[in-house]
């Protein structure tokens, strides 16, 4: 048992203590941050803070006031400047004082008709801000609660019949969670599996394997490697989750991102219950592939085919969302290779019958165990074989 921990710790340390790993860990939040930044830059590039003009010949607005800046808004609203007639507005636009002007039509109160005049395409914000300026000034005399109600709009909550789950338009993150967990799972599985694959192929290539198997049993060696690399993946996952939590804590200070998702403990257990055995299953399989393959490139090709089914549920996100109890969604959540993504996704949109959850998790656990066992055997046969792959028939035969 002690040797298992030695293998485990060595395997864990040799990846986690490397610059490459730290770089990989930080690259994820870095890229997310970069995407957010690029998003801002692209909004900013389309933003034009030059005022807009308007002509209210029919006195629709009474004592118009500028819309105050919103609490969590980065940009000031575009100012709306009144002009007595179209001629003066046009002159101001030609001089470059305003980016566009709006003419409120006589029928505005009944039809909402407004004409916009502009030489160049105005900033994306100009029309929206002028619209807000209009509604702000039209409703400004009304009592405060009414104004708030009008501005907030509807709050639609979709609730299951037994009231166990509900999704509001504001807590959209509940839907995002299984997708996010799925993406992180796939990345972590590929990272762990990749490391494991690499470790086994390298040890075969540099012949360290012979020394190792005369020191520890192939089972201990394989288990230590699988768990060690699994922990590397989980460490990565944990760090990313911490970054996500930090991000979700900081982001609402600056933007309105909706209410935090009400994640139940049952749901977290479901996630762990499906993802963990799936992780072991894939990692062990990668180890087996590594010990049968004769070189890294070949190992990666086989591993690619193996990890492909895991991402399949992502192609069917829409059918799973719209018909979470349909046969496609049910089968995807029962089939062990697609279950890690499909089951948690389904569980957001429907009450998954308990027997299905139990079946899936039992299947995954059994397969994880089987995968470990098989990889131990394949490993034993394939570890010192160079140039010839191990067939499944050989793996099942007594070695």
């Amino acid at each position: 048992m002690k040797k298992f921990w030695l293998i485990f710790w060595n395997e864990y340390k040799r990846h986690v203590m490397r610059k490459r790993f730290i770089f990989a860990i930080l690259s994820m939040p870095f890229f997310v941050g970069l995407m957010v930044l690029i998003g801002f830059v692209s909004v900013w590039l389309q933003f034009n803070d030059k005022p807009v003009g308007y002509i209210d010949s029919y006195d629709i607005l009474e004592y118009p006031q500028q819309v105050p800046k919103k609490e969590k808004s980065i940009f000031d609203p575009v100012k709306s400047v009144a002009y007595p007639d179209e001629e003066s507005a046009k002159a101001a636009m030609i001089k470059g004082e305003i980016q566009a002007y709006f003419i409120l039509q006589e029928t505005y109160r009944s039809t909402g008709e407004v004409t916009m005049v502009s030489n160049i395409k105005p900033g994306n914000n100009a029309r929206g801000d002028f619209g807000e300026f209009l509604s702000y000034n039209i409703i400004k005399g009304l009592p405060e609660p009414v104004i708030k109600r009008l501005n907030d709009g509807n709050k639609l909550i979709i609730r299951s019949l037994d009231g166990a789950r509900e999704i509001g338009a504001e807590n959209w993150m509940v839907m995002l969670l299984p997708l996010l967990a799925g993406v992180l799972f796939i990345i972590a599985v590929n990272v762990s599996g990749g490391y494991l694959l690499q470790a086994v192929v390298e040890e075969k290539e540099n012949r360290t394997m012979e020394i190792l198997v005369t020191s520890v049993s192939p089972d201990q060696l394989m288990a230590g490697k699988v768990v060690g690399n699994l922990m590397v993946g989980l460490t990565e996952l944990a760090i990313w989750i911490v970054f996500t939590v930090i991000g979700l804590t900081i982001a609402p200070l600056f933007f309105d991102i909706g209410a935090p998702p009400p994640i139940s403990l049952t749901y977290i257990l479901l996630l762990v219950g499906t993802l963990l055995p799936a992780f072991v299953m894939v990692a062990a399989a990668m180890g087996a592939i590594g010990s049968t393959a004769t070189e890294m490139r070949e190992a990666q090709q086989i591993a690619g085919w193996f990890t492909l089914p895991i991402v399949v549920p992502f192609w069917f996100v829409t059918p799973i969302m719209f018909n979470p109890n349909g046969s496609l969604a049910v089968w995807l959540s029962l089939f062990p290779l697609t279950a890690p993504i499909a089951l948690p996704l389904r569980a957001v949109f429907t009450d998954v019958p308990w027997w299905q959850i139990v079946t899936t998790i039992t299947l995954l656990c059994a397969l994880a165990y089987f995968s470990l066992w098989l990889s131990g055997r394949v490993f034993r046969i394939g570890m010192l074989r160079y140039g010839k792959k191990v067939s499944l028939k050989e793996a099942f035969k007594r070695s």
């Binding site: 040797k3 030695l6 293998i7 060595n10 040799r14 040890e203 540099n206 012949r207 360290t208 394997m209 012979e210 020394i211 190792l212 198997v213 005369t214 020191s215 520890v216 049993s217 201990q220 010192l384 007594r398 070695s399």
Partner: protein, 301 residues
């Protein structure tokens, strides 16, 4: 009781019969030479002894029974193709492999430092293994083999990539280990090294044992009826009991007539007042025996 007992082991890979009914014993505290040409089945036999491969038939007993995890800590193995982690510092690599042999980390560090000093590698301890020369890696591999003070040492081609100075050092080390009571199996095709070190040998060819026993006995068995003589003067052209006299630069080989013994020839030389500097039975070298046996096996086939 023999330290290693190999009984009629056979192993097939696909259609290739790599080991065919091989048997031998290795006694406690001896250096046993496992010899054979390339592809003879030496390494497969060793892997079967080490329980890396299971034999198709036959059985192996090591340290009093079948191999188990506990016994792995009592065995040191130096494989033919060296196996060290290339991307980590030498010291870390050696300490890790030592801990896998059941030594506590602090003790492993201490022993690694001692061995590195002895093997003149201490200044390279922080270097990555791949930065070391072939000879240095070979010495590092030997440290891995011996660091846990094994009861049984199995070494496959221990002298490859070593210069004469380091070859001598390794020989001394092996003799030292034998003096401590360690049982050593040395697998090689460098016959002169075996002649110097081994007590007993087994010669494997095409998966079969073709020679087995104490080295001296085997050499005598293959000895032609001849003696080597180095004398201060020229030997007479005719000597009683000698059928042929062959002169070499430094010595003369006398082929004995049937039924004559070396003692009788020595008496004849003494009676003829010939001053003798050296008189010995002409034993064939292991190289000669090896070639003779392997060629003979090939011819019979």
């Amino acid at each position: 009781m023999a330290t290693i007992n190999v009984e009629n082991i056979s192993k097939t890979f696909g259609s290739l019969l790599a080991v065919n009914n091989v048997s031998f014993n290795v006694e406690p505290g001896e250096i046993f030479g496992l010899l054979g040409p390339n592809g003879a089945g030496k390494t497969t036999s060793i892997r079967i002894i080490l329980d890396i491969f299971k034999p198709d038939s036959g059985k192996v007993s090591i340290l009093g029974g079948p191999m188990n995890e506990e016994k792995k800590n009592k065995i040191g193995y130096l494989p033919e193709e060296r196996g060290l982690y290339q991307d980590i510092p030498l010291e870390r690599c050696l300490v890790y492999l030592a801990t896998l042999k059941g030594i506590e980390e602090t003790e492993a560090k201490k022993r690694v430092a001692e061995y590195l000093e002895r093997f003149d590698l201490f200044s390279s301890r922080k270097k990555k293994v791949k930065e070391l020369s072939k000879g240095m890696q070979q010495k590092a591999q030997l440290i891995t083999t011996l660091i846990h003070k094994p009861e049984v040492v199995i070494i496959d081609e221990p002298f490859s990539a070593l210069d004469p100075v380091n070859t001598q050092m390794v020989k001394d080390l092996l003799r030292e280990e034998r003096a401590k009571g360690t049982t050593i199996i040395m697998c090689t095709h460098q016959m002169h090294q075996v002649e110097e070190l081994a007590d007993r040998i087994a010669l494997i060819d095409k998966g079969k044992t073709v020679l087995y026993g104490p080295l001296n006995k085997i050499r005598r068995q293959f000895a032609s009826e001849a003696v080597i003589v180095r004398a201060l003067q020229d030997l007479p052209a005719n000597l009683s009991g000698v059928t042929e006299i062959i002169k070499n630069n430094s010595h003369t080989v006398l082929h004995l007539a049937p039924g004559k013994t070396p003692q009788e020839i020595l008496r004849v030389l003494v009676e003829q007042n010939i001053s003798i500097e050296q008189f010995e039975i002409a034993l064939p070298t292991l190289d000669e025996i090896f070639i003779q046996v392997v060629n003979h096996a090939g011819a019979t086939k």
